[in-house]
């Protein structure tokens, strides 16, 4: 491999992988051996090696979600050795490298577990519940017409920075996966506070939080116990402060909106 570290010794690993045929059948852990894994591979590349082996043997490859493989898209969601996105803080699975493991390790790989995220197959889950929460209010309506002047609406730098921090949420679902209640509060709070902080989001501020929380509950996510696992496992570091903002937004919307329904 060009540019690779010549001192990196290849590893042999035992993988314990959750295999499940489809949404309705029961799944189970199946053990596999993978050999000659470079420490410089990403976790997903290691799974590619496993799947090539399986295909050569005429077996069904392991289904897992992935897309950009550069930590932006939020697709590569694996629960690795009991942690969302694996043992390293602040990374997605695709940015987790095999040098974080040792030769001879046993690695258990499971899908996100939440009734709101039904398993499609093996390690791939259906996260469309998040899409429906966004559709319920996670947007800003913009009138067509001439583009407004860039500096027409003054926004303090500090507010812009905080909104941007919330906006970095990639909707991967690690918060749901790592929460003992499978709560989606960190995800919803990031989306709500991002828009509540900015003047462009104020037009739909009250209906947004009411509708998004209602949809979150409808999808079957749990409530927040403030245990903090979500923020600890979040690959982009969304903070618990957002959940307090969400609760404030929700309570003030419920108390003051004109929505009686």
């Amino acid at each position: 491999m060009a540019g690779s570290n010549p001192n990196a010794k290849p590893m042999n690993l035992t993988l314990r992988v959750w295999r499940q045929k489809n949404r309705t059948t029961a799944g189970k852990i199946v053990d596999y051996q993978v050999r000659d894994i470079s420490p410089e591979m990403s976790f997903l590349e290691m799974l590619d090696v496993l799947n090539e082996d399986l295909l050569r043997k005429g077996e069904e490859p392991v289904a897992f979600d992935h897309d950009c493989r550069e930590g932006i898209c939020g697709s590569c969601n694996l629960f690795i050795n009991g942690r969302a996105h694996g043992p390293e803080a602040g990374t997605t699975t695709c940015q987790l490298h095999m040098r974080k493991f040792s030769d001879g390790d046993t690695i258990t790989i499971e899908p996100w577990r939440s009734t709101a995220f039904p398993i499609n197959k093996d390690l791939s889950v259906d996260r469309s519940a998040f899409d429906r929460i966004i559709q319920a209010g996670g947007y800003v309506s913009v009138n067509t017409g001439g583009a407004p002047d860039g500096n027409e609406i003054p926004i303090p730098k500090e507010i812009a920075d905080r909104a941007f921090e919330a906006a970095t949420c990639i909707a991967c679902g690690a918060c749901v996966a790592s929460c003992k209640n499978s709560s989606a509060m960190l995800f919803v709070s990031a989306k709500v506070s991002q828009l509540a902080l900015l003047p462009q989001g104020h037009v739909e501020r009250k209906t947004r939080v009411e509708n998004m929380v209602a949809q979150m509950d409808k999808e079957g996510f749990g409530a927040c116990s403030n245990i903090g696992s979500c923020a600890a496992e979040c690959p982009v570091g969304i903070s618990l402060e957002n959940i307090a903002i969400l609760n404030r937004e929700f309570l003030s919307a419920k108390a003051t909106s004109n929505n009686l329904a």
Binding site: R16, W18, G27, I29, F79, N81, G82, R83, P87, T108, E110, R113, S114, T115, A116, S178, K180, N181, S182, S183, M185, V213, A214, M216, D217, G220, F221, G222, A223, C224, S225, N226, I227, G228, S229, A232, E233, L240, E241, I243, A244, I245, L246, N247, R248, F250, L251, K254, N259, L260, A261
Partner: protein, 225 residues
């Protein structure tokens, strides 16, 4: 009024009820502790018995008692509803390997267990002091007040009773170590300046209150038996 119903039955609404009732119960703990410190007065229980008489007959206190029962009731009821909902959200298939201990505190994940221990204690506690004070014939002290102090003294000379009380206070302490600050967070009261202060106050509150309560059975067991 469906908007009210929707608010209080939403996941955030239920947590807000947990938070408000929990912080209200914290205020009760302060009153209960300060009143009961009279057990240490060394006057053979005269002040404590006078206080008990006042607390059981004053109309304002009786009204406060109804609010207190409601506070406990809502706190316990919501905890059952939320626990069931949260368990359903995770589903039947748990993680085969779950290292949640690496990213969160034990106490924060076991508020239901700690609360259940406190509930068992509460039932025993209410029977032994509240029920017996109100519905069983008790001897009177020299000031003609029911001698609840005597009940306290005999109860706290039984080793397993003392053990139950001390264990319950440990459970309460852990419950409060998470619950106090968590209550503020749920109400949306999170601020870079004040949240660290709330956390320190919460820790101090939990330890001082629970140590104060645990000192009572230990005092009688060690010095009065």
């Amino acid at each position: 009024m469906s908007w009210i119903n929707k608010t209080v039955t939403s996941s955030i609404g239920r947590k807000v009820i947990m938070s408000v009732t929990g912080l209200f119960l914290c205020s009760f703990l302060v009153v209960h502790l300060i009143g009961n410190l009279q057990l240490f007065k060394g006057d053979g229980g005269l002040a404590f018995n006078t206080y008990s008489h006042f607390m059981s007959t004053n109309p304002l206190i009786r009204v406060a008692e109804i609010i207190l029962v409601a506070g406990f009731g809502f706190h316990i009821y919501e905890s059952f509803v939320l626990t069931r909902r949260n368990q359903a959200a995770r589903g039947n298939q748990k993680y085969v390997v779950d290292n949640i201990g690496q990213n969160s505190d034990w106490k924060s994940r076991n508020m239901g267990l700690l609360g259940s221990i406190i509930l068992v204690f509460l039932i025993v506690h209410l029977y032994n002091f509240y029920y017996r004070f109100h519905y069983e014939p008790l001897p009177f002290d020299s000031q003609n007040n029911k001698n609840l102090y005597g009940v306290v003294m005999t109860s706290f000379q039984t080793w397993w009773y003392v053990l139950l009380y001390v264990l319950a206070q440990v459970a309460l302490c852990y419950h409060l170590l998470h619950g106090f600050a968590s209550g503020f967070q749920t109400l949306g009261l999170n601020h870079r300046k004040y949240t660290p202060v709330i956390k320190i106050v919460g820790y101090a509150f939990s330890i001082i209150v629970c140590a104060g309560f645990a000192a009572m059975p230990l005092y009688f067991f060690i010095f009065k038996s």
